[in-house]
Symmetry: C2
Subunit: 109 residues, 2 copies
DNA sequence: CATTTGTGCAACTATTTGGTTGCGCATCTG
DNA sequence: CAGATGCGCAACCAAATAGTTGCACAAATG
């Protein structure tokens, strides 16, 4: 169906649009790879909640998981992030144009 | 607590995490500045829905609005996007490290 | 083998979100 | 001035989200 690139991009941004998931990503980046249990230790929310967030990140392909014996390790896969970055950069190209229009808007007659 | 910077960043990403809003941003960038009514013309959803999305974008400071007589013009303000871009770039710096860990994770004994 | 440890699934609740309709008010324009 | 145009509430609804609890199952360990 409408599995357009736009939808996928929005999914990546939506996955990033949550403080908990943002924190998970930074923690995973720092540690390399962690289990959901390790990620939930000392945290205010339940392991189950963490797992759900990780599933969102996996669905957006921002994170990969790998079963290793008894435990499942999660790690950031930066490839999808590049897409998002490319989009923001593309917008940045329209920067000057947009700023020019903004100016003329404010100074409009 | 980590109240301000992380939360705001997540807000920007959350605002971008919706196909409708993504489309609004690109349309606004292309046109420079448009009213909510103009943005809703020919669209499937109501003007009110568009207004709500625009309010989300304004709250995330991705878009500014300027009253001009009877109508209100909306335009993209790219300054906030730079923050998001900076974050993704910061992650990109951990790229190799993360990829290295990913590799060792996959190849782990 | 019995126990601990980590994961997976399911049901349930509360809040947020995306959307609608209806209406009143302000502002241009003939 | 009278009508058209555009905006701003507010109430309401359905679906998605974030979180919980409870329990069962697989795998490492004494």
């Amino acid at each position: 169906m409408s599995n357009t690139p736009e939808r996928e991009l929005a999914g990546v941004f939506a996955a990033l649009g949550d403080t908990t998931r943002l924190a998970l990503i930074t923690r995973l980046l720092a540690a390399g790879a962690l289990t959901a249990t390790a990620l939930s230790e000392g945290q205010a929310i339940t392991r189950q909640a963490i797992v759900k967030h990780l599933q969102v990140l996996v669905a957006a392909r921002l994170v990969v998981h790998e079963r290793h014996g008894k435990e499942v390790l999660y790690a950031v896969d930066p490839r999808r992030l590049e897409e998002a970055r490319a989009f923001l950069t593309a917008i940045a190209e329209g920067w000057d144009k947009a700023l020019g229009r903004l100016k003329s808007l404010v100074e409009a007659p």
